[in-house]
């Protein structure tokens, strides 16, 4: 398909791309701007876009009312830890499903997917009492384990589809070269699927990062991640938009930075296999 590349078309396409990107980015930009406004400016009608009195007092207020670094630390430990542990289980699982399937592999995959269809509140009581009995409430190990379990189906599914793209000949060549099963996975399969593993990991880290239901219900202070911190800034005394925006900017900052650095891997991973 050879569309003619005229200058006017290129300018038009570029402008449209920037417009689309701006529209998608606008809510984040607005939140970022609001976090530097006073509460009065945040409520002003008509809205003030750039010309207002810039202040960092919201950020100071957030830090004085909550331990940002503790919650950020918890968020990182929970989402990254849960996913590293999840990958250690999911890579061999996806290997066996992709390269040594049995008659029940399809059913097993569908069953794993079906667990994602059940509302979390459906098992909440059972999980809560289990955690209570096991003294796991407000512990990083407990909620981390739970996050790993909730993300495991997605990890296995995504890795399974990436692994399916890898020619089985190459794994068989490794076997002929005398590689044990573990060496085949460590030296051949995993390095070949780095883009797939990276995008799986990023998606799953974001899901864990955004997880609020379980963390709000199972943690309190010690193991509470950033989602809990944001929640604590809403409701009680009415809405403070500027303060809430500052808390939200702080909450998404680490994940934005992670996304920025891994976007190349992510794009490659999401389009993996499209072009041979």
């Amino acid at each position: 398909m050879a569309l003619k590349q005229t200058t006017s078309r290129r300018v038009g396409m570029t402008a449209a791309a920037w417009l689309a990107a701006f529209l998608i980015f606008f809510p984040i930009l607005w939140m970022f701007l609001t976090s530097f406004k006073s509460e009065a400016d945040a409520y002003a009608i008509p809205p003030k876009f750039l010309f207002f009195h810039w202040t960092t007092e919201n950020y100071a207020e957030v830090q004085s009312r909550a331990d940002y670094f503790l919650h950020a630390y918890n968020s990182i430990v929970l989402s990254v830890g849960a996913n590293v542990a999840g990958l250690i289980l999911a890579i061999p699982a996806a290997w066996s499903m992709a390269f040594a399937p049995s008659k029940r592999t399809k059913d097993l995959l569908m069953w794993m997917l079906s667990t994602k269809m059940m509302p979390a509140s459906g098992v909440f009581m059972a999980v809560y009492f289990l955690f209570l009995q096991a003294h796991l409430l407000d512990s990083r190990w407990g909620v981390g384990f739970l996050l790993m379990m909730t993300n495991l189906p997605i990890l296995v599914w995504m890795l399974y589809t990436y692994f399916k793209e890898i020619p089985v000949d190459i794994l068989e060549a490794a076997r002929m070269d005398g590689a044990s099963l573990a060496n085949e996975i460590i030296y051949v399969l995993t390095p070949m699927s780095v883009p797939g593993i990276a995008s799986t990991m990023l998606l799953s880290v974001i899901l864990s990062w955004n997880e609020a239901f379980w963390t709000l219900n199972l943690t309190n202070v010690n193991a509470a991640p950033l989602t809990n911190m944001i929640a604590s800034f809403s409701s009680p005394e009415g809405d403070f938009w500027a303060l809430l925006s500052a808390a939200s900017v702080l909450a998404i900052a680490p994940i934005l930075i992670l996304g920025w650095f891994s976007q190349k891997q992510l794009v490659r991973g999401l389009t993996f296999g499209a072009v041979k």
Partner: protein
């Protein structure tokens, strides 16, 4: 040492029998070719020997020891795949060294063996390249290099040349032949190309629908095919087969005569025919004729022949070169 023996090996996928009771012995140092039409089970048979597939029943012996239940990593065999199956994330050096690394050999030994293999295969200048930066022929050499460094009991080749163009295929065929002469290691080579089979093999195993049709040297198969299947599979262009009175006269249900063993005359002969087309190859001419009451036949004439389409001719088989087959398609020996 590297003899391989199959004892009534059977392989079924579900209810489909792909390999049926194959008995076969490959002697140490022999170059054996499995040949047959697609779907005859030749690649499956090779994968059974490699251990990449499990046999349904039967036994596989390597060097006289039962290897039926040993995994592919422990059989001590090397395999060259049709797709090359190089590790795309490793350099040529990494690819060739992988098996040695898996065998926990010391670094200096690995380096030395990789250098030696690269020297044999003209890959010395490419050791730091990735497979995607190599041409098809070079990738093929890396795949072979990967196979030779581990000094296997036997090499298994699974249609290794089918992705190469014709000229390169002839060259690689010679290189593999040279390699066999210098290493003197057992080689089993799978191909659907009977020219490759004829030119490379010490011994050819012709497979048909999962069973062994015939085992023999290239010339044995050419001169004494044991049945219609082998007769028409080996040889190019294929053997002319004639049924009816001409066969009955010679005490057979079917007679066969190769295109190079037929005489063409414009004046007299056994089978009157009409020329359809003459293919001029320079060294040879293939004359395709439509024989009356018999059907299409091919005649191979040396050098240049002047036969125009539509011309009336007479075709006569060389009596001593006629192969006779009975009703079941088995060879009738004189």
């Amino acid at each position: 040492m590297g003899s391989i023996e199959l004892k009534s090996v059977r392989k079924a996928f579900g209810s489909v029998n792909v390999i049926n009771n194959v008995d076969l012995k490959v002697e140490d140092g022999e170059f054996t070719v499995f040949v047959g039409p697609s779907g005859c089970g030749k690649s499956t048979l090779l994968r059974l020997i490699a251990g990449l597939e499990d046999v349904t029943s039967g036994q596989i012996l390597i060097d006289g020891k039962d290897a039926t239940n040993i995994g592919p990593a422990k059989r001590g065999l090397s395999m060259v795949f049709q797709s090359y199956a190089l590790y795309p994330h490793m350099s040529v050096r990494g690819n060739i060294a992988f098996a040695l690394k898996m065998a926990n050999q010391p670094k200096d030994v690995i380096e030395q063996k990789v250098k030696k293999a690269a020297g044999i295969l003209n890959l010395t200048d490419y050791l730091d390249r990735k497979p995607r930066q190599l041409s098809g022929g070079q990738r093929q050499r890396v795949a072979i290099g990967r196979a030779i460094v581990r000094e296997p009991k036997a090499f298994l080749f699974d249609e290794p040349l089918s992705n190469l163009d014709a000229a390169l295929r002839v060259q690689m065929r010679l290189e593999i032949g040279d390699l066999h002469h210098s290493l003197k290691t057992t080689m089993i080579y799978v191909t659907h190309d009977q020219v490759e089979a004829m030119t490379m093999a010490d011994k050819i195993v012709v497979l048909n629908k999962g069973t062994v049709a015939q085992i023999g040297s290239p010339l044995e198969l050419y001169n004494k095919p044991n049945g219609l299947f082998v007769a028409s599979f080996i040889g190019s262009p294929t053997m002319n087969l004639v049924t009816g009175p001409s066969a009955a006269k010679r005490g057979a249900a079917t007679i066969g005569v190769r295109p190079e063993h037929v005489d063409l005359s414009t004046t007299s002969g056994e089978w009157p025919a009409r020329v359809r087309l003459a293919e001029h190859l320079g060294s040879d001419t293939f004359v395709h004729v439509e024989a009356d009451d018999i059907g299409p036949m091919t005649i191979r004439l040396e050098g240049e022949a002047v036969n125009a389409p539509g011309q009336r001719v007479f075709v006569t088989p060389q009596e001593a070169r006629i192969h006779r087959f009975d009703k079941e398609g088995h060879r009738i020996n004189p």
